[in-house]
């Protein structure tokens, strides 16, 4: 059993955790919810021995882990985010990375394979241990990570946003797996922004805000609305009136996928992960080789690079904030101003960024990497808003954001719609598309499978069209 008592942890001047208690016993799933910067991930890292607390205690069956290796030995495993896996190694090597069976440093390959296969069997099998990890889907990679935890004899497994990058079917499969492992006596700490899944799979819920545990409740005694109140202080997504759609077709796409977007229209792209939503947006924007014929404001374009798209007034908020959208080691102002700079002599970056910094309450000179996910996404949005584009493409614009940041992003999108821009939003959350879009196209295997009007955008309808 994992037990944290009165844990404090600061980074520089930022107090990430202020006296947090947490218990995860065997055979239970404890949900941990809270906004960005609430301290959830830090809590997981402290529990896994990655960070040492400033004060307070962590014990695993009565003993204190001093390092990640210690925590693993004592039975606590953190399921790492995708980025920390070795994509070029095969599945077996990933499962036993750092714990390879060996004799005098020579790896015992037969034993490694045997253990990897045994661990994979426990998570449902169907994955060959010799496959290169990079060739697997996100859902499969995650099961490999869980298999890794099992092979290390974990008693408590910590999951940080495990469904953020998963398709619906993979997520369902994950839930089934967790339930099955729970019955075998494993304990889980489960961080997620998706309240629906928290409500359906956990036994207990811990709510965090600003580094503190503000509430703890048994799942069956609580409601979703109650959770939302704890997290944001008010209700969830707004059921706003959709802004009116104009007559002018701003964006028209021909080719393997065909659609039109009018001024003021918000078009959703729905579909499972791997359906081709990201690919369509990246092709439109010229970020990858394209077979689409794109017309903006009635003018046919030859888009070969993002520069061409930008010249035509089309911008893309990419799927991966950190690796595709931001210069993490640079201040917010430079991030925001960069695409607006046109003259050879540097223009005043602070002045270009100021209206957005002010609006979103971002501290002057703040380096992008030090900001929360929500503020980072607002920087990415700002850098494009500063260009006053006529077509906005947004790929998973609220992924990993908390309720409040999500609402802010939605406000920006609606505002742009009112201002008469054409907007295409891709999201894996039906609920988000339903509250935001006039209509949505359902994609599967790279093609359009159907179209849903705003109120018909539901998981069930998307799934029906996509499969």
């Amino acid at each position: 059993m994992l037990q944290l008592d009165g844990v404090y942890k600061s980074f520089g001047g930022v107090k990430a955790l202020r006296g947090v208690d947490l218990r995860v016993g065997t055979g239970e799933i404890v949900g941990i919810v809270g906004g960005n910067g609430a301290g959830k991930s830090t809590l997981m890292k402290v529990a896994a021995g990655v960070h040492q607390p400033d004060s307070g205690s962590i014990t695993i069956d009565g003993r204190t882990p001093k390092s990640p290796a210690d925590a693993i030995r004592l039975g606590v495993s953190l399921v790492r985010q995708e980025l920390t896996q070795a994509h070029d190694l095969d599945v077996g090597a990933n499962i036993l990375l750092g714990h390879e069976p060996h004799r005098f440093g020579v790896i015992d390959r037969a034993e490694l394979r045997r253990r990897a296969v045994a661990a994979l069997d426990r998570v449902g099998g169907g994955i060959d241990v010799r496959t290169r990890l990079g060739e697997l889907s996100p859902g499969q990679r995650q099961r490999v990570e869980i298999a890794r935890a099992l092979s290390l004899n974990a008693k408590v497994v910590l999951l940080d946003e495990p469904t953020a990058t998963l398709a619906e079917s993979d997520a369902t499969r994950l839930f089934e797996l967790l339930e099955q492992l729970r019955k075998q006596g494993l304990g889980f700490a489960y961080i997620s922004h998706r309240l629906g899944e928290i409500m359906s799979i956990t036994d207990r819920i811990v709510c965090m805000r600003d580094g503190e545990r503000v509430a703890e409740m048994r799942t069956k005694d609580s409601s979703r609305d109650e959770l939302v109140t704890f997290l944001a202080g008010s209700a969830g997504l707004i059921e706003a009136e959709l802004p009116p759609v104009g007559d002018e077709v701003l964006l028209s796409v021909e080719g393997p996928v065909k659609f039109e977007v009018r001024a003021g229209e918000i078009l959703g792209l729905a579909g499972l992960v791997g359906a081709g939503r990201t690919s369509v947006l990246r092709r439109l924007f010229g970020a990858k080789a394209s077979d689409l014929t794109v017309t903006v404001r009635g003018k046919p374009l030859d888009i070969r690079s993002p520069r061409d798209a930008l010249a035509a007034g089309m911008v893309l908020v990419p799927e991966e904030r950190a690796s595709q959208g931001l210069f993490l080691d640079q201040p917010a102002e430079r991030n925001i101003a960069l695409p607006s700079l046109k003259r050879f002599m540097l223009e005043d970056e602070a002045a270009i960024a100021a209206p957005f910094m002010q609006r979103f309450g971002i501290r002057k000179g703040a380096v992008a990497s030090t900001l929360s996910g929500g503020n980072q996404q607002k920087i990415v949005l700002s850098k494009w808003l500063a260009l006053q584009p006529s077509v906005l493409l947004l790929d998973e614009p609220t992924r990993g954001l908390d309720v409040k940041a999500k609402r802010d992003v939605h406000d920006v999108i609606r505002e742009q719609s009112v201002a008469g821009k054409a907007i295409v939003v891709s999201s894996s959350e039906a609920e988000e598309l339903a509250s935001l879009c006039h209509r949505a196209l359902v994609l599967a295997r790279g093609g359009i499978r159907g179209e849903l009007q705003s109120r018909d955008i539901t998981d069930a309808n998307i799934l029906r069209l996509a499969t």
Binding site: L316, G325, R334, L338
Partner: protein
């Protein structure tokens, strides 16, 4: 001031080195020695600047020493062995340097070959060309072309001529890197090349330009080296690419790209040269590389420790 913390630390190190060496050996403050130091700091700064720009944009240039050599050797070879006048010889050497930069940059930017590999290849290849061209022997100016030699060994306004070249290059590059769009793009690409591309930066052209600038500055310093020596040997500039990387890193550049300043590189060049000079003055010249290596390691260790705090 926070942004220049690294540079301030390095400035302190430079001053400490200066005072320390002067105390150890009063000859350090002799006019000849000081002027010699200025000349070498200038020459190192020239080629280290180019390296720094490449590094800031996320690349690395290992061909520095060999381009210096090719520029120097071809000038003296053309002038002394082929009977070309010194003016055209200098021009040809510079054009050759530019062409090398263009080729390397094109391979890196458009073919997507890693900078380390491309410039490692040309480092070996160009050194070999210099050896073949000279037959492995020195090509001296034998007292000819005093005007050209003045650029390397002469003194203008009380300072060695290379100082004025370096000053011009430093001012120009500081302006380019810190006040223009090109400079901003270099930092952006070094920080996150994919984000830069998706922000509409012409990543390939900027990359190309960094390698052209580096090769051009190497060409200039190659010319100044032969003018100063005044003879071209096929081993001219050996290991200078490493001095260039050292000066850039000492000056605050990160090999991951996106960090560093032009002013810092000059400090780095100063620290490197003073270290060499100090070791020589205390009569332990064999220890040059040991001490220089130690200084570099000490600098990065201190930097990491300061960063962690």
């Amino acid at each position: 001031m926070k942004a220049y913390k690294k540079e301030l630390v390095m400035l302190a190190v430079l001053v400490a080195l200066f005072v320390g060496t002067a105390l150890l050996n009063p000859n350090f403050l002799g006019a000849d020695n000081l002027s010699n130091n200025v000349r070498h700091v200038a020459l190192i700064s020239l080629f280290a600047l180019g390296e720094a720009i490449v590094i800031i944009a996320g690349g690395i240039d290992l061909s520095v020493g060999s381009v210096i050599c090719i520029a120097g050797v071809s000038t003296s070879y053309l002038a002394m062995n082929m009977g070309v006048d010194i003016g055209p010889a200098v021009l040809i050497a510079l054009v050759v340097s530019l062409a090398i930069g263009l080729l390397q940059g094109a391979l890196i930017a458009w073919l997507g070959v890693q900078p380390f590999v491309v410039t490692l290849g040309s480092m070996l290849l160009l050194r070999g060309v210099a050896e073949v061209m000279t037959g492995g022997t020195d090509v001296g100016f034998q007292g000819k072309f005093p005007g050209f030699r003045f650029l390397g060994e002469g003194v203008g306004l009380g300072l060695p001529m290379p100082f004025w070249f370096a000053l011009a290059a430093v001012l120009l590059m500081a302006y380019l890197m810190h006040r223009t769009l090109f400079g901003r793009y270099c930092y952006a690409i070094g920080s996150n090349a994919e984000a830069a591309r998706l922000s509409g930066v012409a990543v390939q052209w900027v990359r190309l330009a960094t390698f052209v600038i580096s090769a051009f500055l190497c060409g200039i310093s190659g010319l100044l080296y032969v003018a100063y020596l005044p003879t071209a040997t096929p081993s001219l500039g050996s290991a200078y690419e490493l001095h260039a990387v050292a000066a850039a890193v000492l000056g605050g550049c990160s090999l991951q790209g996106g960090r560093g300043s032009v002013f810092g590189v000059v400090l780095g060049a100063g620290i490197l040269q003073l270290t060499f000079n100090a070791v020589n003055l205390v009569g332990k010249s064999l220890w040059q590389n040991v001490v220089a290596g130690g200084v570099i390691l000490a600098a990065v260790i201190v930097d990491r420790l300061l960063e962690k705090k």
